[in-house]
Amino acid sequence: MPFTISDLELKTDLPDIPDTIPVAVLASPCAKERSGSARRLAEILDLEVAGTVDVPHGYAVGGSHGQVEVFTASGAIRARNTDRLSAYPDERRKWADAKLGDDGFQLGKRSTEQLTRSAMEILERSELRDNWADLDVVLGQWALLDEKGNELESGPGRATVRLSYAAEGIPLIGPGAKTHLHFDPDEEGAGGLLARFFHVHRAVEASTDVATQSLEEAFEPLLTQSWAGLEVDPSSARLSITSAKLGLLALPADVAQGFAAPALAVEGQLAGAVAADGRELTVGFGQYVALAHPKSLASSGLATSGPLVHGEVVRRRGKGE
């Protein structure tokens, strides 16, 4: 017997789900229009451009020391200086004002402001500065461990300036609406050298309101899914939600997306699942839960066929064949 909505243990408040909610209708991207941005990003990254080639997801400009890729499906653009990606012998990065905080190492005000300025200059110069909803600067984290797992040392890694976006006043969630500028520290450790870049943000050309599903309907795929062949008895197992964020789901850069529909990004845990050997297991999950009612979407002319599903491999090659 599957879980029901009343079995859900809420460890966080679910956002209020209105009866109707906007769907953002997205403009068709034109990858060719990104060619100027691609060229300027190549300059910013000090790339020697050997030429432009078609790749499965669009086209790439650059050479063997770095490339700029443009995604046909979304107009997204990604760039890197591959020499910089391999320039260090290990994870350590020397930021002058990084300090250990409650949530790992964080940059000080001086570096944060300097990197933010650099990011804005790069976005202006590459004509990719959109109206962003939120901006922060985060550090990668690393730790060095001995053979027994004891932490010997830890510190900050690459810094990332992150921009997020919204449509109709609702956050765009998921993988397909963000800008990241990844910096390694310069010699002074305050400013940065751009190592990687990623920008995906589809333009919104219109919006329309659609009806939302009930929570029972929305959570059904999560409640009824199987769990790796484990025995899951709703009377003893617990399905808990630890975080839930409402937004319009922006799909990955390699997906052609006509509209961004409302969804919940939920995280949680299944506890008390029983393995075949009798052990109890706890596993985590992260899942997007669609909120728009399919009939309401369809009546707005926004129905989707779902993804193209590939066949399964039924014969395998043996090792060495």
Partner: protein
């Protein structure tokens, strides 16, 4: 000599989880430099694939690199009807395995109270475990995670644009770039790698010929970043 790659997946109603893992192996399998030799799904994903079991062949260790899609926690990842935990006889790389990549949530979480060093006993001659510090997602277009990982780790080096230029990056960067495409910024990619004198791994490429394995006087590095 070709490197062998494999895919292990448990769908649990979301076919994208199969596509994630198979995308990695099938993309590489299209190159002359790799052979896709192992593909196991749902009830075919068994404990003896990952845990040293008397009388069984550990199929995960007959490949050089694999990608897996299943649920997880800091201390375990699921196989069909059970799990593989840090407390079991996991010896990745006793034969072949160098790179183990998984979608499993939280597997490589590293905090002051729960060190990712709990997975170090699983490193026999393994070079990298690649996964996540927190929850990874399904159901929102994550299907191509493995395809992107394979493309950045090797395919775009050997692939059709190589007559003009090659895209060449360390495997850790390929994992980060792949997950930046398919995950939201709230998700944190992570890895745990071993290295030893004479066996550096920080800038190791999947495309390269098999390198010296880190086996003695080892140190371990973990890192994480925003997707």
């Amino acid at each position: 000599m070709a490197k062998y790659v494999g895919s292990w997946w448990i769908k649990d109603g979301i076919d994208g989880r199969r596509l994630e893992a198979e995308g990695f192996a099938s993309t590489l399998g299209g190159l002359a430099e790799f052979d896709w030799t192992q593909n196991h799904g749902d009830s075919g994903v068994v404990e003896s694939d990952f845990v040293t079991t008397s009388g069984s062949t550990q199929r995960s260790d007959s490949v050089d690199a694999l990608q897996m899609s299943s649920h997880g926690s800091a201390n375990a990842f699921t196989i069909w009807g059970g799990s593989v935990t840090t407390g079991e006889a996991v010896d990745f790389g006793k034969n072949d395995l160098e790179f183990f990549a998984t979608h499993a949530c939280d597997l490589l979480e590293h905090t002051s109270t729960n060190s990712v060093g709990r997975w170090i006993p699983a490193f026999e001659r393994l070079h990298y475990m690649l996964g996540f510090h927190n929850s990874s997602y399904s159901g929102g277009g994550q299907n191509s995670r493995g395809t992107w990982f394979a493309m950045y780790a090797a395919w775009l080096y050997y692939g059709p644009l190589s007559w003009l230029f090659r895209i060449d990056m360390p495997i850790r960067e390929a994992w980060a770039e792949a997950n930046e495409i398919v995950e939201g910024s709230n998700v944190q990619w992570a890895y745990l790698r071993a290295e030893a004198p004479g066996a550096p791994t920080y800038n190791e490429r999947l495309r390269e010929a098999e390198s010296t394995d880190p086996v003695s006087s080892r140190s371990f590095w973990t890192a994480r970043g925003t997707c």
